[in-house]
């Protein structure tokens, strides 16, 4: 009885693995069939084969690499600046009540405004320059990292701080060693969320007007009715965001090295 149960469980497990492996090819196949059958307009809804050709052309022309570098450097620079600012100010607001009283109300008002909503004013302020794009990504990343750090610092075990005090730990070390490392598990969660957010804001930043970048390429292709290129761009963006998130997750696990 129990043997039969076990066998059926393992069959179910094997079946679900098989379904998972076949999932994407099956959907791609259905997409190809539907797009070619004439049920839908193949110009607006191109088959995967057309998308693949467009992507290959994108790569061969050399534009892909330039777009990739442009987008990645915006995300990387915005993430680095926003994260550094978020961590520093998060430690300060989390640790010092006066700093928190000064900044937290302001941050809590600004934080819920979606970064995309700043696009019009950013264009007025910075025009179509790189500074404006950087501003948007920094804006999106900063508040997420700030809040995670602020909460993390406040959740640092007070006992750890008392123990460090009793051992004669100097004030400076207290802040940047005990408090920062004590909050690190929270900070890494905030940073990981911020990785996705930096890609969302990249979209807004490049749609607002750019001269290179993956989202810029999507927009140009849309204007030229190159729907295969549009979908190829979307796929590239999805893949990029996915790889960034996964590699950050691996990195974050190593960052909290004592676990």
């Amino acid at each position: 009885m129990s043997g039969g149960g076990r066998r059926s469980t393992s069959t179910a497990a094997r079946l679900s693995v098989l379904v998972a492996v076949l999932s994407v090819p099956a959907f791609t196949g259905v997409w190809e069939l539907v797009a070619r059958s004439g049920i839908v307009n193949a110009v607006l809804f191109p088959p995967p084969s057309t998308v693949a050709v467009a992507v290959l052309e994108w790569i061969r022309s050399g534009q892909f690499f330039g777009d990739l570098v442009a987008s990645l450097s915006r995300v990387a620079a915005g993430f680095a600046i926003g994260a550094a600012g978020g961590i520093v100010l998060g430690v300060l607001t989390g640790q010092f009540r006066l700093v928190s009283s000064l900044l937290s109300p302001l941050f809590h008002i600004l934080r819920p405004i979606p970064p995309i909503a700043f696009v019009p004013i950013v264009i007025l302020w910075f025009g179509l320059s790189e500074t404006g794009k950087l501003f948007l990504v920094v804006w999106g990343v900063f508040f997420t990292v700030w809040l995670a750090t602020h909460i993390g610092v406040q959740k640092v075990d007070r006992g750890l701080i008392r123990a460090a005090q009793m051992l004669g730990t100097p004030q400076r070390h207290m802040l940047w060693e005990i408090v920062l490392l004590g909050a690190l598990p929270y900070i890494t969660v905030g940073l990981r969320t911020a990785v996705s957010i930096s890609f969302y804001t990249l979209v807004a930043a490049e749609l607002a007007g750019a001269f290179s970048g993956i989202v810029y390429r999507i927009e140009i292709a849309q204007q030229n009715m190159q729907t295969g290129q549009v979908m190829g761009g979307l796929a590239a963006l999805g893949l990029l965001s996915f790889v960034a998130d996964r590699s950050f997750a691996t990195l974050a696990e190593r960052a909290v090295w004592w676990r």
């Binding site: 075990d157 006992g159 750890l160 008392r162 123990a163 460090a164 005090q165 009793m166 051992l167 004669g168 730990t169 100097p170 070390h173 005990i178 490392l181 690190l184 090295w257 004592w258 676990r259």
Partner: protein, 288 residues
Amino acid sequence: MTPSLLRPDQPLRLVDTYPPSAPALQAIIRVEDLSIVFDGPSGQVIAVDRVSLAVAQGEFVSIVGPSGCGKSTLLNAMAGLERPFEGQVLIAGEAMRAPRPEIGMVFQQPHLFPWKSVRRNIAHGPRALGKPKAEALRIADDLIEMIGLTRFASAYPHTLSGGMQQRVAIARALANQPRVLLMDEPFGALDAQTRAVMQDNLLELRERINATIVFVTHDIDEAILLSDRVLIMSAGPGRILRDLQVSLPRPRSSAIVAEAAYLALKRDCLDLIRSEGRRAFEQMEIRT
């Protein structure tokens, strides 16, 4: 060593010496008319009420009392972690206003730095005081050997048992060679067997270090076993009721708790605590 730790020719006495008549000359800790007040939800609460006491150099003193009697608050004031409302705490003649590295503390929870190995946890104090890394690590290694955790020197705290973690916490507090070691229910979170082992370890350790120890506990057995003197505190407000000399011979071990004479001593202490507990409870009933 004699098989029985208690000799019949040595009568056991409870000598009440509270309040202290004249300040002991060689007192290293002196608490003078100390009051500590907290802001509670329904007004101010007096946690410690005009407490005076003196601890001599090298003495092992326990503070015993029911939970919430202010014994931990009193200890925190000795550590410089709690500000006096009135009165003062003098250690080595100097008023305690902030923690000082010559005063070590072991808490109920080990509070080890989770990101540091055992070795680095213990070396933290000497490093914080500006000792070179090599010297700090040498101090740590000596202490690791003393607590018998050589195999675990590079292990991280979460991989150790509660008892082992607390041993590391004690070694970490000793690394700065404190003149005074304050211990706040350090074995309170451990199971009974581990606790007995830890008590024996502490008795052995005490023979090797020359720190003055103040030990807070609610466990009367533990207090009598370890101490030269037991201070019994009352609750609401926190006051010291009695100051009892424990004239049991040393060296001691946890086996002492089965001795008849020890039990008589314990009974006296318990009677005191019980009558005090009843009084405090009745007072509370009247108030409410």
